[in-house]
Amino acid sequence: MNLFRTALILAKKDLYSELKTKQILTTQIIFAGLVIVVFSFAFDPANNTTKAVIPGVIWVIIVFAGILGLNRSFISEQRNETMQGLLVAPMEAASIYLGKFLANFAMMLVVELVSIPFLFLLFDFKFLGSVPYFILVVFLGSFGFIAIGTFLAALAANSKSSEMLLPLLLFPITTPILIGVVQATKIILTNVEKLSSAIAWIQLVTAYDVIFFVVCFLLIDYVLEV
C-alpha cells in the first residue's frame, strides 16, 4: 500500500530528525518535569488529599507537553518550504497526515513513558489500580488527542500565529476525550471496584477516537489542499 509506505517513510524521517536534533523531545520532557514541580507547589505532595488530583495532573502533563510537539510538527516543514516538497511528491494528503500522526504519537508515548513514572515517584503514589487498564487508557487518550491534534496542527500551520491558534482550536474539540480519560484514570487509579464504569468511559473515548480519526482522514485533503 502506497499510502502506508509513504506514511512510514515520512514518520521515520521525522523521528530520525528528532533523534538528530533532540529538540522537541527534550523540550517536552523538561516541560513535563516542570509541570510536575509546579503541581508539587500547588498541591502539597505530603498531603493525602493530593492523591485525588493525580489523574488530572497526568492528563495536564500529556496535554501541555503534547501541544508543544504538535506545534512543531507542521511548523518544522515550513523551513525551506519542505512542505511543498511533500506536496509535489506523489503521495496522498492522507499519507502526510498519517506519517505526521505516527511520528507525533511515538514521541508522545516516549514523553509519557518518562514523565508518568516520574510523577508517581515524586508524589509517592502507591499504584493500587490495574496496570494494563491504566496503560490502555493512556494509550487511547493519547491516540485521540494526537489524532485530532495533528489534524488541527496542519490546519493551524496556515496561520502566522499558529502556536497561539492551535490550543484554542484543540482544547474545546478534545473536551470529550479529556473528560473521559480523566474519569477513567481516576477510577482505575483510586477506585478499581468500579471498573465497569471505567470501561464505559473507555468505550466513549474509543468511539471518539474512531469517529475523529476517520473524519480527519476524510477532511485532511481539504486542509492540505493548495
Binding site: 502506497n2 511543498q84 509535489v88 506523489p90 489542499e225
Partner: protein, 234 residues
C-alpha cells in the same frame, strides 16, 4: 506533453493568470520570461500541482491534472526558489528520503551518483545547514531530479549562483534534455535562457504575449523581442 487550455487563476479579486493557452512538446526546453508579477511563477506552480487553477484544463502526458495527480506528480521535478531540503539532514539523507517517497530503486546509489554529478561528493554527509547558497541550489537540483522526471519545472534556477555553479546546473539540465526530458524554466537571466533553451515564452499581465523559437543562442534576438513586448519599445 503539456497541454494548457484557457487557464485562469484568481486570488481574491486579482486575476493572476487570464487565459493561458500553451502546448509544449516532449523534449523541448522552454524559458518563460516576463516582468515581476506577470504570473510566471504562478503558472509554474499550477503545473507543479501546488496551486489549483480557477478554471481551465491542463493535460500532462494525456492525463488530466485534476484526476490523475498522483501519476502526474511522478513525472514532475520541481525546483522553486526555496531549496525544499531539510536543514539538519545531509545531502545524502535528503536525497534518500525524497527518493524513497518517489519509490526510486537503488536510491542510495543514485543519490551518491547525483551528488557527485553536482560536484559535492566531498560534502555527502555534512548537514545542509552549513552550506552556501550555491551548494544548496546544487543539492536542490539534485533533489528535483532524483526520480528521473520527464518534466522539469525550474523557478529561477540561476539566481545567486556563481559561474561554476551555473555551468554545473546547465550541464545537468542539458543531460536531462538528452534523455528526452521536457524543461520549463522561469528566469530573468536572458543569457542563460538563450544558452540552453530552444523556445521562449514571454508572459505579461497573466497572458502569453509572445512565443517563439530561438536558434544559435541568439541573445540579441531575445532581448529585442522582450523589450518589444514588455517595455513597449517599437
Amino acid at each position: 506533453m503539456i497541454e494548457i487550455k484557457k487557464l485562469t487563476k484568481q486570488a481574491d479579486n486579482k486575476l493572476i493568470l487570464r487565459g493561458v493557452d500553451l502546448s509544449i512538446k516532449k523534449g523541448e526546453t522552454v524559458a518563460i520570461l516576463g516582468p515581476n508579477g506577470a504570473g510566471k511563477s504562478t503558472l509554474l506552480k499550477v503545473l507543479a500541482t501546488l496551486i489549483k487553477p480557477s478554471s481551465g484544463l491542463i493535460k500532462i502526458n494525456g492525463l488530466d491534472l485534476k484526476k490523475n495527480h498522483l501519476e502526474i506528480k511522478k513525472l514532475l521535478g520541481y525546483l522553486p526558489h526555496s531549496s525544499l531540503l531539510y536543514d539538519h539532514y545531509s545531502p545524502l539523507e535528503n536525497l534518500v528520503f525524497f527518493g524513497n517517497i518517489y519509490g526510486v530503486d537503488d536510491v542510495e546509489q543514485r543519490a551518491i551518483k547525483l551528488v557527485k554529478e553536482v560536484g559535492l561528493s566531498f560534502f555527502l554527509n555534512e548537514p545542509v545547514k552549513n552550506f552556501s547558497r550555491g551548494m544548496i541550489q546544487r543539492i536542490a537540483i539534485a533533489r528535483a531530479i532524483i526520480h528521473d522526471p520527464e518534466i522539469l519545472l525550474l523557478d529561477e534556477p540561476h539566481t545567486g549562483l556563481d559561474q561554476g555553479a551555473i555551468s554545473i546546473l546547465n550541464n545537468v539540465i542539458l543531460s536531462m534534455k538528452e534523455k528526452g526530458a521536457t524543461t520549463l524554466m522561469v528566469t530573468h537571466d536572458f543569457k542563460q535562457a538563450a544558452e540552453i533553451c530552444d523556445r521562449i515564452i514571454i508572459v505579461k499581465n497573466g497572458k502569453i504575449v509572445d512565443d517563439f523559437k530561438i536558434e544559435n543562442r541568439n541573445l540579441g534576438f531575445v532581448s529585442e523581442k522582450y523589450e518589444l513586448q514588455v517595455e513597449g519599445v517599437s
